[in-house]
C-alpha cells in the first residue's frame, strides 16, 4: 500500500518537475533546459527563485510537499538505502 502511495507521490513529483522544466526551457533557452533536465535540483532552485514572477508558486509548494512526503514514505518503507562506503561493483 505504501509502495503504491510512494509511486503516486513520485509521479506527482515528476509532473511538477516537467512543468517547471518546460518553463525553464521557455525562459532561459535550450542549454539551461538541458542543465535542468540533468540536475533536477537546479530546476527546483530556479523554480523557487522565479516562482512569483512566473506565477508557479502553487506548483512549487505542491512539488516541495510531494518531495517531503516521498522521502518520509521512502524512509518508512525502507526504500531509502545509500550504499555509501561500500559501493556495489559491476
Amino acid at each position: 500500500m505504501l509502495g503504491i502511495l510512494g509511486l503516486v507521490l513520485w509521479l506527482g513529483c515528476i509532473i511538477c518537475f516537467i512543468i517547471v522544466l518546460i518553463k525553464l526551457f521557455q525562459e532561459n533557452g535550450v542549454l539551461h533546459g538541458i542543465l535542468g533536465l540533468i540536475c533536477g535540483l537546479y530546476t527546483f532552485i530556479w523554480g523557487w527563485i522565479n516562482a512569483t514572477r512566473l506565477n508557479i508558486k502553487n506548483i512549487m509548494v505542491i512539488w516541495t510537499l510531494l518531495i517531503i512526503l516521498s522521502i518520509i514514505v521512502n524512509v518508512t518503507t525502507g526504500g531509502f538505502h545509500y550504499s555509501f562506503g561500500t559501493p556495489a561493483t559491476p
Binding site: L7, V30, I38, I49, N74, F80, P87, P90
Partner: protein, 146 residues
C-alpha cells in the same frame, strides 16, 4: 540548432546571478552534508519514478568520495565529479567574493563559453557518458546508483 544557441553562455549567467548562486551553494552544501551522514537528500524524480538513473545521478556521492581523497571510487561513481567540484567552487567564490572579482570571472567565463562552446561540449559529454553507462553497463549502473 543554430550556432547562437549552442554558444550561448550558461555558466556565466549563473555566476552573475548572486541569488541563484547562493541558493545553488546552499543546496549543494546541504546535499553533500546529508549524503556524507547517510541521510536522505535530494531524491532524483527520474530515478525514483522510472527506475532509470538520470545523467546527474551519483554525482553527490562521487563528490563526497572526492573530498575523502578516494579518486578511484569517485570516478567509478561519476566521472564528472571533478568538473562539478570546480564549477561549484567558482560559483561559491563568485557568490561570496567581491563584485568586481565576480564580474571579471563571469566575463572570462562568458568569453570562454562564447568562443569554445564549452558548456555544450560538457553537457554533450555528460549525456554521452550517461548513455554509454545506460546501454553498456545498465544493471551495474542502476546497482551503483541505488
Amino acid at each position: 540548432m543554430s550556432q547562437a544557441i549552442l554558444f550561448r553562455p550558461v555558466f556565466s549567467t549563473i555566476l552573475r546571478n548572486r541569488r541563484l548562486g547562493s541558493a545553488i551553494c546552499a543546496a549543494a552544501l546541504a546535499q553533500l552534508l546529508l549524503t556524507l551522514f547517510g541521510l536522505p537528500g535530494w531524491p532524483c524524480p527520474i530515478f525514483h519514478t522510472l527506475g532509470i538513473p538520470c545523467p546527474g545521478c551519483g554525482l553527490t556521492r562521487a563528490t563526497v568520495y572526492l573530498f575523502h581523497g578516494d579518486f578511484k571510487q569517485s570516478l567509478t561513481m561519476h566521472a564528472f565529479a571533478p568538473i562539478f567540484v570546480i564549477a561549484l567552487a567558482v560559483i561559491t567564490f563568485c557568490t561570496v567574493g567581491p563584485r568586481s572579482h565576480t564580474e571579471r570571472i563571469a566575463a572570462g567565463a562568458e568569453t570562454l563559453e562564447h568562443y569554445t562552446g564549452l558548456t555544450v561540449l560538457l553537457l554533450s559529454g555528460l549525456i554521452l557518458y550517461w548513455l554509454a553507462r545506460l546501454v553498456i553497463l545498465q544493471t551495474a549502473f542502476v546497482r551503483l546508483i541505488q
